[in-house]
Amino acid sequence: MSTPMVLAEQVHKSFGRIEVLKGIDLAVEPGTVCCLLGPSGSGKSTFLRCINHLEKVDAGRLSVDGELVGYRQEGDKLYELKESETAGKRAEIGMVFQRFNLFPHMTALGNIVEAPVRVKGISKKDAAEQARALLDRVGLADKVDAYPAQLSGGQQQRVAIARALAMQPKLMLFDEPTSALDPELVGEVLDVMRSLARDGMTMVVVTHEMTFAREVGDTVVFMDGGVVVEAGTPADVLGNPQQERTRTFLGKVT
Protein backbone atom coordinates (compact mmCIF):
# COMPACT_ATOMS: atom_id res chain seq x y z
CA MET A 1 0.00 0.00 0.00
CA SER A 2 0.99 3.62 -0.40
CA THR A 3 2.19 5.87 2.40
CA PRO A 4 -0.53 6.17 5.04
CA MET A 5 -2.08 9.65 5.23
CA VAL A 6 -1.85 9.45 9.02
CA LEU A 7 0.55 7.15 10.80
CA ALA A 8 0.78 7.03 14.58
CA GLU A 9 3.30 4.89 16.41
CA GLN A 10 3.17 4.79 20.19
CA VAL A 11 1.97 8.40 20.45
CA HIS A 12 2.00 9.78 24.00
CA LYS A 13 0.62 13.07 25.25
CA SER A 14 0.34 14.47 28.77
CA PHE A 15 -1.23 17.62 30.15
CA GLY A 16 0.78 18.31 33.28
CA ARG A 17 0.80 15.04 35.21
CA ILE A 18 -2.26 13.63 33.47
CA GLU A 19 -1.37 11.26 30.64
CA VAL A 20 -4.10 11.56 28.03
CA LEU A 21 -2.63 9.45 25.24
CA LYS A 22 -0.79 6.33 26.37
CA GLY A 23 0.67 4.97 23.17
CA ILE A 24 -1.62 5.25 20.16
CA ASP A 25 -0.92 3.10 17.11
CA LEU A 26 -3.00 3.88 14.08
CA ALA A 27 -2.81 4.13 10.29
CA VAL A 28 -5.24 5.90 7.99
CA GLU A 29 -4.85 5.09 4.30
CA PRO A 30 -5.43 7.81 1.69
CA GLY A 31 -9.00 8.03 0.47
CA THR A 32 -10.45 6.24 3.47
CA VAL A 33 -12.66 7.34 6.34
CA CYS A 34 -11.56 6.52 9.87
CA CYS A 35 -14.11 6.93 12.66
CA LEU A 36 -12.83 7.35 16.21
CA LEU A 37 -15.28 6.18 18.85
CA GLY A 38 -15.06 6.05 22.60
CA PRO A 39 -16.31 7.53 25.85
CA SER A 40 -15.53 11.16 26.64
CA GLY A 41 -12.08 11.60 28.12
CA SER A 42 -10.72 8.69 26.11
CA GLY A 43 -8.31 10.95 24.22
CA LYS A 44 -10.04 10.96 20.80
CA SER A 45 -10.18 14.73 20.45
CA THR A 46 -6.67 15.20 21.81
CA PHE A 47 -5.35 12.75 19.23
CA LEU A 48 -7.19 14.60 16.48
CA ARG A 49 -5.70 17.90 17.67
CA CYS A 50 -2.22 16.35 17.63
CA ILE A 51 -2.66 15.45 13.95
CA ASN A 52 -3.27 19.14 13.21
CA HIS A 53 -0.37 20.42 15.34
CA LEU A 54 -2.73 22.05 17.81
CA GLU A 55 -1.13 19.89 20.52
CA LYS A 56 2.46 18.70 20.72
CA VAL A 57 3.26 15.01 20.87
CA ASP A 58 5.43 14.11 23.90
CA ALA A 59 6.70 10.74 22.78
CA GLY A 60 6.31 8.38 19.85
CA ARG A 61 6.02 9.34 16.22
CA LEU A 62 3.13 10.88 14.39
CA SER A 63 3.31 11.65 10.70
CA VAL A 64 0.92 13.04 8.10
CA ASP A 65 1.49 12.07 4.46
CA GLY A 66 4.94 10.77 5.35
CA GLU A 67 6.09 13.93 7.15
CA LEU A 68 6.57 14.14 10.92
CA VAL A 69 4.14 16.36 12.79
CA GLY A 70 5.80 19.28 14.60
CA TYR A 71 9.38 18.19 13.91
CA ARG A 72 11.88 17.91 11.13
CA GLN A 73 14.31 15.02 11.14
CA GLU A 74 17.89 15.40 9.97
CA GLY A 75 19.93 12.30 10.56
CA ASP A 76 19.26 11.19 14.13
CA LYS A 77 18.31 14.66 15.32
CA LEU A 78 14.84 16.14 15.62
CA TYR A 79 14.36 19.87 15.14
CA GLU A 80 11.26 21.68 16.34
CA LEU A 81 9.37 23.30 13.49
CA LYS A 82 9.12 27.07 13.33
CA GLU A 83 5.76 28.78 13.74
CA SER A 84 5.57 29.54 10.03
CA GLU A 85 6.41 25.96 9.02
CA THR A 86 3.69 24.62 11.31
CA ALA A 87 1.22 27.07 9.80
CA GLY A 88 2.15 25.84 6.33
CA LYS A 89 1.41 22.26 7.32
CA ARG A 90 -1.90 23.16 8.93
CA ALA A 91 -2.96 24.83 5.69
CA GLU A 92 -2.97 21.37 4.07
CA ILE A 93 -5.25 19.84 6.72
CA GLY A 94 -8.87 20.87 7.12
CA MET A 95 -10.47 20.84 10.54
CA VAL A 96 -14.11 21.05 11.61
CA PHE A 97 -14.91 21.76 15.25
CA GLN A 98 -17.71 20.70 17.56
CA ARG A 99 -18.70 24.33 18.15
CA PHE A 100 -18.22 25.41 14.48
CA ASN A 101 -15.93 28.34 15.39
CA LEU A 102 -17.01 30.43 12.44
CA PHE A 103 -15.69 33.99 12.50
CA PRO A 104 -18.74 35.92 13.72
CA HIS A 105 -17.63 39.27 12.26
CA MET A 106 -17.54 37.92 8.71
CA THR A 107 -20.28 36.72 6.37
CA ALA A 108 -20.45 33.09 5.23
CA LEU A 109 -18.55 34.12 2.09
CA GLY A 110 -16.03 36.12 4.15
CA ASN A 111 -15.37 33.11 6.36
CA ILE A 112 -14.62 30.94 3.36
CA VAL A 113 -12.43 33.32 1.33
CA GLU A 114 -10.34 34.51 4.30
CA ALA A 115 -7.68 31.79 4.31
CA PRO A 116 -7.40 31.21 0.55
CA VAL A 117 -6.85 34.96 0.04
CA ARG A 118 -4.62 35.70 3.03
CA VAL A 119 -2.68 32.43 3.30
CA LYS A 120 -2.58 31.07 -0.25
CA GLY A 121 -2.61 34.44 -1.98
CA ILE A 122 -5.46 33.57 -4.35
CA SER A 123 -7.15 36.61 -5.91
CA LYS A 124 -10.31 37.77 -4.16
CA LYS A 125 -12.35 37.21 -7.28
CA ASP A 126 -11.25 33.61 -7.76
CA ALA A 127 -11.66 32.88 -4.06
CA ALA A 128 -15.20 34.27 -4.05
CA GLU A 129 -16.07 32.19 -7.09
CA GLN A 130 -14.75 29.06 -5.41
CA ALA A 131 -16.55 29.96 -2.18
CA ARG A 132 -19.88 30.28 -3.98
CA ALA A 133 -19.36 26.88 -5.56
CA LEU A 134 -18.56 25.37 -2.15
CA LEU A 135 -21.60 26.99 -0.52
CA ASP A 136 -23.67 25.56 -3.34
CA ARG A 137 -22.15 22.15 -2.71
CA VAL A 138 -23.15 22.21 0.99
CA GLY A 139 -26.61 23.44 0.00
CA LEU A 140 -26.28 27.04 1.18
CA ALA A 141 -26.02 28.98 -2.05
CA ASP A 142 -28.60 31.47 -0.73
CA LYS A 143 -26.65 32.21 2.48
CA VAL A 144 -23.62 33.88 0.89
CA ASP A 145 -24.10 37.17 2.74
CA ALA A 146 -25.47 35.80 6.01
CA TYR A 147 -23.54 36.31 9.23
CA PRO A 148 -23.03 33.20 11.41
CA ALA A 149 -25.49 34.52 14.02
CA GLN A 150 -28.19 34.48 11.35
CA LEU A 151 -27.66 30.78 10.58
CA SER A 152 -28.87 27.65 12.35
CA GLY A 153 -26.33 25.30 13.93
CA GLY A 154 -26.51 22.88 11.04
CA GLN A 155 -26.04 25.68 8.51
CA GLN A 156 -23.10 27.06 10.48
CA GLN A 157 -21.43 23.66 10.53
CA ARG A 158 -21.91 23.29 6.79
CA VAL A 159 -20.30 26.70 6.23
CA ALA A 160 -17.45 25.55 8.49
CA ILE A 161 -16.98 22.48 6.30
CA ALA A 162 -16.98 24.66 3.18
CA ARG A 163 -14.43 26.93 4.86
CA ALA A 164 -12.11 23.99 5.49
CA LEU A 165 -12.57 22.65 1.95
CA ALA A 166 -11.65 26.02 0.45
CA MET A 167 -8.01 25.34 1.34
CA GLN A 168 -8.17 22.16 -0.75
CA PRO A 169 -6.88 19.98 2.09
CA LYS A 170 -5.49 16.51 1.60
CA LEU A 171 -6.98 15.41 4.90
CA MET A 172 -10.11 16.46 6.80
CA LEU A 173 -10.43 16.19 10.56
CA PHE A 174 -13.86 16.28 12.21
CA ASP A 175 -14.05 16.78 15.96
CA GLU A 176 -17.56 15.67 17.01
CA PRO A 177 -19.10 17.75 14.20
CA THR A 178 -22.70 16.98 15.14
CA SER A 179 -22.52 16.89 18.95
CA ALA A 180 -23.58 20.51 19.40
CA LEU A 181 -26.53 20.24 17.00
CA ASP A 182 -30.25 19.82 17.58
CA PRO A 183 -31.20 16.26 16.58
CA GLU A 184 -33.13 17.31 13.50
CA LEU A 185 -30.11 19.22 12.14
CA VAL A 186 -27.63 16.33 12.44
CA GLY A 187 -28.71 14.73 9.17
CA GLU A 188 -27.90 17.69 6.92
CA VAL A 189 -24.30 17.81 8.22
CA LEU A 190 -23.81 14.05 7.95
CA ASP A 191 -25.12 14.19 4.36
CA VAL A 192 -22.39 16.66 3.43
CA MET A 193 -19.78 14.44 5.09
CA ARG A 194 -21.11 11.39 3.26
CA SER A 195 -20.76 13.12 -0.09
CA LEU A 196 -17.20 14.13 0.83
CA ALA A 197 -16.36 10.50 1.62
CA ARG A 198 -17.86 9.42 -1.70
CA ASP A 199 -15.58 11.87 -3.49
CA GLY A 200 -12.59 10.13 -1.96
CA MET A 201 -11.58 12.63 0.74
CA THR A 202 -9.40 11.18 3.47
CA MET A 203 -11.24 11.80 6.73
CA VAL A 204 -10.67 11.20 10.42
CA VAL A 205 -13.95 11.63 12.27
CA VAL A 206 -14.45 11.70 16.02
CA THR A 207 -18.12 10.92 16.42
CA HIS A 208 -20.88 9.40 18.49
CA GLU A 209 -23.00 8.70 15.42
CA MET A 210 -22.88 4.89 15.21
CA THR A 211 -24.99 4.74 12.07
CA PHE A 212 -22.63 7.11 10.29
CA ALA A 213 -19.60 5.10 11.44
CA ARG A 214 -21.16 1.88 10.23
CA GLU A 215 -22.23 3.27 6.84
CA VAL A 216 -19.37 5.58 5.93
CA GLY A 217 -16.38 4.40 7.96
CA ASP A 218 -13.77 2.25 6.22
CA THR A 219 -12.18 1.65 9.60
CA VAL A 220 -13.57 2.15 13.07
CA VAL A 221 -11.27 2.70 16.01
CA PHE A 222 -12.52 2.31 19.55
CA MET A 223 -10.47 4.24 22.11
CA ASP A 224 -10.65 4.22 25.87
CA GLY A 225 -8.32 5.51 28.58
CA GLY A 226 -5.80 6.88 26.08
CA VAL A 227 -5.23 3.65 24.15
CA VAL A 228 -6.73 2.00 21.08
CA VAL A 229 -8.82 -0.85 22.43
CA GLU A 230 -9.98 -2.24 19.14
CA ALA A 231 -9.71 -1.30 15.47
CA GLY A 232 -10.98 -2.78 12.26
CA THR A 233 -13.82 -2.68 9.79
CA PRO A 234 -17.17 -1.39 11.04
CA ALA A 235 -18.61 -4.87 10.66
CA ASP A 236 -15.94 -6.33 12.96
CA VAL A 237 -15.72 -3.62 15.61
CA LEU A 238 -19.38 -2.66 15.76
CA GLY A 239 -20.93 -5.98 14.72
CA ASN A 240 -18.64 -8.43 16.46
CA PRO A 241 -16.51 -6.69 19.08
CA GLN A 242 -13.80 -8.85 20.61
CA GLN A 243 -13.06 -6.74 23.68
CA GLU A 244 -15.26 -6.55 26.77
CA ARG A 245 -14.83 -2.74 27.01
CA THR A 246 -15.99 -2.23 23.43
CA ARG A 247 -19.05 -4.39 24.08
CA THR A 248 -19.94 -2.45 27.23
CA PHE A 249 -19.60 0.90 25.42
CA LEU A 250 -21.63 -0.19 22.41
CA GLY A 251 -24.26 -1.64 24.69
CA LYS A 252 -24.69 1.77 26.31
CA VAL A 253 -24.87 3.89 23.18
CA THR A 254 -26.96 1.73 20.88
Partner: protein
Amino acid sequence: MTVTADTGPAPEALVAVPVRHPWRWVSAVVVLVLLGLLVRAFSTSSIQWGTTRHYLTFGTIVSGAGKTLLISVVAQALGVALGVLFAVGRQSRNPVTSGVSWLYIWFFRGTPVLLQLLLWYNLALVFPTIAGQDTNALMTPFIAALLGLGINEGAYMAEIVRAGLGSVDEGQTEAAQALGMPRGLVLRRIVLPQAMRVIVPPTGNEFVNMLKTSSLAYAIQYGEVLRAATNISSANLQVVELLFTAAVWYLILTSAFSVVQYYVERRFSRGASRSLPDTPLQRIRANLVFGRPSGRSA
Protein backbone atom coordinates in the same frame (compact mmCIF):
# COMPACT_ATOMS: atom_id res chain seq x y z
CA MET B 1 -45.14 32.92 14.04
CA THR B 2 -46.59 29.54 13.28
CA VAL B 3 -50.23 29.34 14.15
CA THR B 4 -52.48 26.42 13.39
CA ALA B 5 -55.43 27.36 11.22
CA ASP B 6 -58.92 28.10 12.57
CA THR B 7 -58.24 29.24 16.08
CA GLY B 8 -61.37 31.35 16.08
CA PRO B 9 -61.48 35.10 16.71
CA ALA B 10 -58.44 36.58 18.49
CA PRO B 11 -59.07 37.29 22.19
CA GLU B 12 -59.64 40.92 23.15
CA ALA B 13 -56.59 42.88 24.21
CA LEU B 14 -56.27 43.10 28.01
CA VAL B 15 -57.23 46.35 29.69
CA ALA B 16 -55.54 46.96 33.01
CA VAL B 17 -54.77 49.94 35.23
CA PRO B 18 -50.99 50.52 34.93
CA VAL B 19 -48.89 50.62 38.10
CA ARG B 20 -48.71 54.21 39.42
CA HIS B 21 -45.40 55.74 40.43
CA PRO B 22 -46.21 58.70 42.75
CA TRP B 23 -42.68 58.91 44.13
CA ARG B 24 -41.33 59.72 40.69
CA TRP B 25 -43.46 62.87 40.67
CA VAL B 26 -42.36 63.80 44.19
CA SER B 27 -38.68 63.35 43.42
CA ALA B 28 -39.01 65.28 40.15
CA VAL B 29 -40.49 68.24 42.03
CA VAL B 30 -37.73 68.11 44.67
CA VAL B 31 -35.02 68.06 41.99
CA LEU B 32 -36.66 70.98 40.11
CA VAL B 33 -36.83 73.08 43.27
CA LEU B 34 -33.19 72.40 44.09
CA LEU B 35 -32.15 73.24 40.53
CA GLY B 36 -34.15 76.47 40.67
CA LEU B 37 -32.44 77.47 43.91
CA LEU B 38 -29.04 76.76 42.41
CA VAL B 39 -29.75 78.78 39.26
CA ARG B 40 -31.08 81.66 41.39
CA ALA B 41 -28.02 81.59 43.63
CA PHE B 42 -25.69 81.88 40.68
CA SER B 43 -27.74 84.42 38.73
CA THR B 44 -28.04 86.81 41.67
CA SER B 45 -24.37 86.39 42.59
CA SER B 46 -21.66 88.78 41.52
CA ILE B 47 -20.68 86.57 38.57
CA GLN B 48 -20.87 88.54 35.35
CA TRP B 49 -22.34 86.04 32.90
CA GLY B 50 -21.92 88.50 30.09
CA THR B 51 -18.15 88.10 30.44
CA THR B 52 -18.42 84.33 30.31
CA ARG B 53 -20.51 84.52 27.16
CA HIS B 54 -18.32 87.19 25.59
CA TYR B 55 -15.15 85.13 25.87
CA LEU B 56 -16.77 81.92 24.55
CA THR B 57 -16.05 83.07 21.00
CA PHE B 58 -12.92 85.05 21.81
CA GLY B 59 -9.97 84.26 19.50
CA THR B 60 -7.50 82.76 21.97
CA ILE B 61 -10.24 80.77 23.73
CA VAL B 62 -11.47 79.21 20.49
CA SER B 63 -7.94 78.41 19.36
CA GLY B 64 -7.28 77.05 22.87
CA ALA B 65 -10.28 74.72 22.51
CA GLY B 66 -8.89 73.68 19.13
CA LYS B 67 -5.55 72.91 20.73
CA THR B 68 -7.27 70.91 23.47
CA LEU B 69 -9.01 68.83 20.80
CA LEU B 70 -5.80 68.48 18.77
CA ILE B 71 -3.59 67.30 21.64
CA SER B 72 -6.33 64.96 22.87
CA VAL B 73 -6.76 63.32 19.48
CA VAL B 74 -3.07 62.83 18.74
CA ALA B 75 -2.20 61.75 22.29
CA GLN B 76 -5.10 59.27 22.31
CA ALA B 77 -4.01 57.95 18.92
CA LEU B 78 -0.49 57.46 20.24
CA GLY B 79 -1.97 55.81 23.32
CA VAL B 80 -4.06 53.36 21.30
CA ALA B 81 -1.09 52.43 19.10
CA LEU B 82 1.18 51.88 22.10
CA GLY B 83 -1.62 50.07 23.93
CA VAL B 84 -2.08 47.49 21.17
CA LEU B 85 1.69 47.09 20.85
CA PHE B 86 2.29 46.46 24.53
CA ALA B 87 -0.86 44.37 25.08
CA VAL B 88 0.33 42.02 22.36
CA GLY B 89 3.84 42.27 23.78
CA ARG B 90 2.68 41.11 27.18
CA GLN B 91 1.17 38.00 25.66
CA SER B 92 4.31 37.26 23.66
CA ARG B 93 6.15 34.03 24.37
CA ASN B 94 9.39 35.97 23.96
CA PRO B 95 10.45 36.77 27.56
CA VAL B 96 12.26 39.97 26.50
CA THR B 97 9.16 41.37 24.81
CA SER B 98 6.81 40.48 27.64
CA GLY B 99 9.30 41.79 30.24
CA VAL B 100 9.68 45.14 28.49
CA SER B 101 5.90 45.44 28.17
CA TRP B 102 5.43 44.72 31.85
CA LEU B 103 8.06 47.32 32.79
CA TYR B 104 6.43 49.96 30.57
CA ILE B 105 3.00 49.44 32.08
CA TRP B 106 4.45 49.33 35.59
CA PHE B 107 6.25 52.67 35.28
CA PHE B 108 3.80 54.77 33.29
CA ARG B 109 0.72 53.57 35.11
CA GLY B 110 2.45 53.89 38.45
CA THR B 111 3.46 57.56 38.32
CA PRO B 112 1.24 60.66 37.99
CA VAL B 113 0.71 61.99 34.50
CA LEU B 114 1.52 65.54 35.64
CA LEU B 115 4.90 64.33 36.85
CA GLN B 116 5.49 62.64 33.50
CA LEU B 117 4.59 65.85 31.64
CA LEU B 118 7.07 67.81 33.74
CA LEU B 119 9.74 65.14 33.14
CA TRP B 120 9.39 65.33 29.35
CA TYR B 121 9.31 69.11 29.43
CA ASN B 122 12.47 69.27 31.51
CA LEU B 123 14.30 66.59 29.58
CA ALA B 124 16.94 69.16 28.62
CA LEU B 125 18.17 69.15 32.22
CA VAL B 126 19.22 65.51 31.76
CA PHE B 127 20.12 65.45 28.07
CA PRO B 128 21.03 68.97 26.86
CA THR B 129 21.24 67.71 23.27
CA ILE B 130 19.57 64.82 21.45
CA ALA B 131 21.27 63.64 18.27
CA GLY B 132 23.15 66.94 18.03
CA GLN B 133 19.97 69.02 18.41
CA ASP B 134 19.18 71.32 21.28
CA THR B 135 16.71 69.41 23.46
CA ASN B 136 14.85 72.56 24.50
CA ALA B 137 14.20 73.40 20.86
CA LEU B 138 12.91 69.86 20.19
CA MET B 139 10.83 69.55 23.31
CA THR B 140 8.21 72.17 22.52
CA PRO B 141 5.18 72.26 24.84
CA PHE B 142 3.23 70.39 22.15
CA ILE B 143 5.77 67.58 21.81
CA ALA B 144 6.19 67.28 25.57
CA ALA B 145 2.41 67.17 26.04
CA LEU B 146 2.04 64.60 23.27
CA LEU B 147 4.71 62.33 24.75
CA GLY B 148 3.56 62.79 28.32
CA LEU B 149 -0.14 62.26 27.68
CA GLY B 150 0.22 59.68 24.90
CA ILE B 151 2.77 57.41 26.56
CA ASN B 152 0.87 57.52 29.84
CA GLU B 153 -2.35 56.70 28.00
CA GLY B 154 -0.63 53.79 26.25
CA ALA B 155 -0.14 52.06 29.59
CA TYR B 156 -3.85 52.24 30.34
CA MET B 157 -4.84 51.28 26.82
CA ALA B 158 -2.54 48.24 27.04
CA GLU B 159 -4.64 46.92 29.91
CA ILE B 160 -7.88 47.64 28.04
CA VAL B 161 -6.63 45.92 24.89
CA ARG B 162 -5.39 42.96 26.94
CA ALA B 163 -8.85 42.51 28.42
CA GLY B 164 -10.34 42.73 24.91
CA LEU B 165 -7.99 40.10 23.48
CA GLY B 166 -8.78 37.84 26.41
CA SER B 167 -12.51 38.15 25.76
CA VAL B 168 -12.31 36.43 22.37
CA ASP B 169 -13.09 32.71 22.44
CA GLU B 170 -10.01 30.52 22.09
CA GLY B 171 -11.83 28.47 19.47
CA GLN B 172 -11.49 31.44 17.12
CA THR B 173 -7.71 31.31 17.32
CA GLU B 174 -7.74 27.55 16.86
CA ALA B 175 -10.03 27.71 13.84
CA ALA B 176 -7.83 30.37 12.24
CA GLN B 177 -4.66 28.43 13.01
CA ALA B 178 -6.21 25.27 11.61
CA LEU B 179 -6.67 27.15 8.33
CA GLY B 180 -2.93 27.77 8.26
CA MET B 181 -3.01 31.40 9.32
CA PRO B 182 0.20 32.53 11.08
CA ARG B 183 -0.03 34.25 14.48
CA GLY B 184 0.21 37.83 13.23
CA LEU B 185 -2.56 37.29 10.73
CA VAL B 186 -4.78 35.56 13.30
CA LEU B 187 -4.37 38.56 15.59
CA ARG B 188 -4.98 41.18 12.92
CA ARG B 189 -7.84 39.57 11.03
CA ILE B 190 -9.63 37.40 13.56
CA VAL B 191 -8.91 38.27 17.19
CA LEU B 192 -8.48 42.07 17.17
CA PRO B 193 -11.64 42.83 15.16
CA GLN B 194 -13.68 40.77 17.65
CA ALA B 195 -11.85 42.28 20.62
CA MET B 196 -12.86 45.74 19.38
CA ARG B 197 -16.37 45.27 20.72
CA VAL B 198 -14.87 45.05 24.22
CA ILE B 199 -12.08 47.59 23.60
CA VAL B 200 -14.09 50.44 22.04
CA PRO B 201 -16.43 51.47 24.90
CA PRO B 202 -13.69 51.94 27.54
CA THR B 203 -11.53 53.63 24.89
CA GLY B 204 -14.26 56.20 24.37
CA ASN B 205 -14.27 56.70 28.09
CA GLU B 206 -10.49 57.14 28.01
CA PHE B 207 -10.83 59.78 25.30
CA VAL B 208 -13.35 61.77 27.32
CA ASN B 209 -10.85 61.58 30.15
CA MET B 210 -8.08 62.69 27.80
CA LEU B 211 -10.06 65.77 26.72
CA LYS B 212 -10.05 66.86 30.35
CA THR B 213 -6.65 65.52 31.45
CA SER B 214 -5.04 67.48 28.61
CA SER B 215 -5.69 70.54 30.79
CA LEU B 216 -2.66 69.41 32.82
CA ALA B 217 -0.51 70.46 29.86
CA TYR B 218 -1.34 73.92 31.22
CA ALA B 219 1.63 73.34 33.56
CA ILE B 220 4.10 73.04 30.68
CA GLN B 221 3.02 76.16 28.76
CA TYR B 222 0.81 74.37 26.22
CA GLY B 223 -1.86 76.86 25.15
CA GLU B 224 -4.96 74.67 25.55
CA VAL B 225 -8.31 76.13 26.53
CA LEU B 226 -7.77 76.27 30.29
CA ARG B 227 -4.46 78.06 29.86
CA ALA B 228 -6.06 80.48 27.39
CA ALA B 229 -8.79 81.21 29.95
CA THR B 230 -6.44 81.80 32.86
CA ASN B 231 -4.22 84.00 30.69
CA ILE B 232 -7.19 86.30 30.21
CA SER B 233 -8.38 86.18 33.80
CA SER B 234 -4.93 87.00 35.12
CA ALA B 235 -5.31 90.29 33.24
CA ASN B 236 -8.99 91.11 33.90
CA LEU B 237 -9.25 89.29 37.26
CA GLN B 238 -12.60 87.73 36.33
CA VAL B 239 -11.39 84.28 37.38
CA VAL B 240 -14.68 82.43 37.85
CA GLU B 241 -16.23 83.92 34.71
CA LEU B 242 -13.40 82.55 32.57
CA LEU B 243 -13.38 79.19 34.34
CA PHE B 244 -17.02 78.89 33.29
CA THR B 245 -16.06 79.82 29.74
CA ALA B 246 -13.56 76.95 29.71
CA ALA B 247 -16.12 74.64 31.37
CA VAL B 248 -18.62 75.33 28.58
CA TRP B 249 -16.01 74.45 25.98
CA TYR B 250 -15.16 71.18 27.74
CA LEU B 251 -18.86 70.29 27.84
CA ILE B 252 -19.22 71.08 24.13
CA LEU B 253 -16.25 68.84 23.29
CA THR B 254 -17.30 65.93 25.49
CA SER B 255 -20.95 66.09 24.39
CA ALA B 256 -20.02 66.16 20.73
CA PHE B 257 -17.79 63.16 21.25
CA SER B 258 -20.57 61.18 22.96
CA VAL B 259 -22.47 61.26 19.69
CA VAL B 260 -19.43 60.07 17.74
CA GLN B 261 -18.90 57.33 20.31
CA TYR B 262 -22.43 56.01 19.90
CA TYR B 263 -21.98 55.46 16.17
CA VAL B 264 -18.51 53.96 16.54
CA GLU B 265 -19.76 51.42 19.08
CA ARG B 266 -22.66 50.56 16.82
CA ARG B 267 -20.25 49.94 13.96
CA PHE B 268 -18.22 47.47 15.98
CA SER B 269 -21.18 45.46 17.23
CA ARG B 270 -21.66 43.97 13.75
CA GLY B 271 -22.07 40.21 13.86
CA ALA B 272 -22.52 40.19 17.63
CA SER B 273 -26.28 40.34 17.38
CA ARG B 274 -28.66 39.45 14.59
CA SER B 275 -29.54 43.02 13.72
CA LEU B 276 -28.07 46.38 14.62
CA PRO B 277 -30.10 48.55 16.99
CA ASP B 278 -31.73 51.61 15.41
CA THR B 279 -29.87 54.89 15.67
CA PRO B 280 -31.67 57.65 17.62
CA LEU B 281 -32.47 59.39 14.32
CA GLN B 282 -33.97 56.22 12.85
CA ARG B 283 -36.01 55.77 16.01
CA ILE B 284 -37.34 59.33 15.80
CA ARG B 285 -38.25 58.85 12.16
CA ALA B 286 -39.97 55.55 12.88
CA ASN B 287 -41.98 57.18 15.66
CA LEU B 288 -43.06 60.00 13.36
CA VAL B 289 -44.40 57.50 10.86
CA PHE B 290 -46.12 55.00 13.13
CA GLY B 291 -47.04 57.27 16.00
CA ARG B 292 -45.90 56.66 19.53
CA PRO B 293 -44.78 53.12 20.34
CA SER B 294 -47.58 51.34 22.15
CA GLY B 295 -47.19 50.60 25.84
CA ARG B 296 -45.65 52.81 28.48
CA SER B 297 -41.93 52.61 29.04
CA ALA B 298 -41.51 51.44 32.60
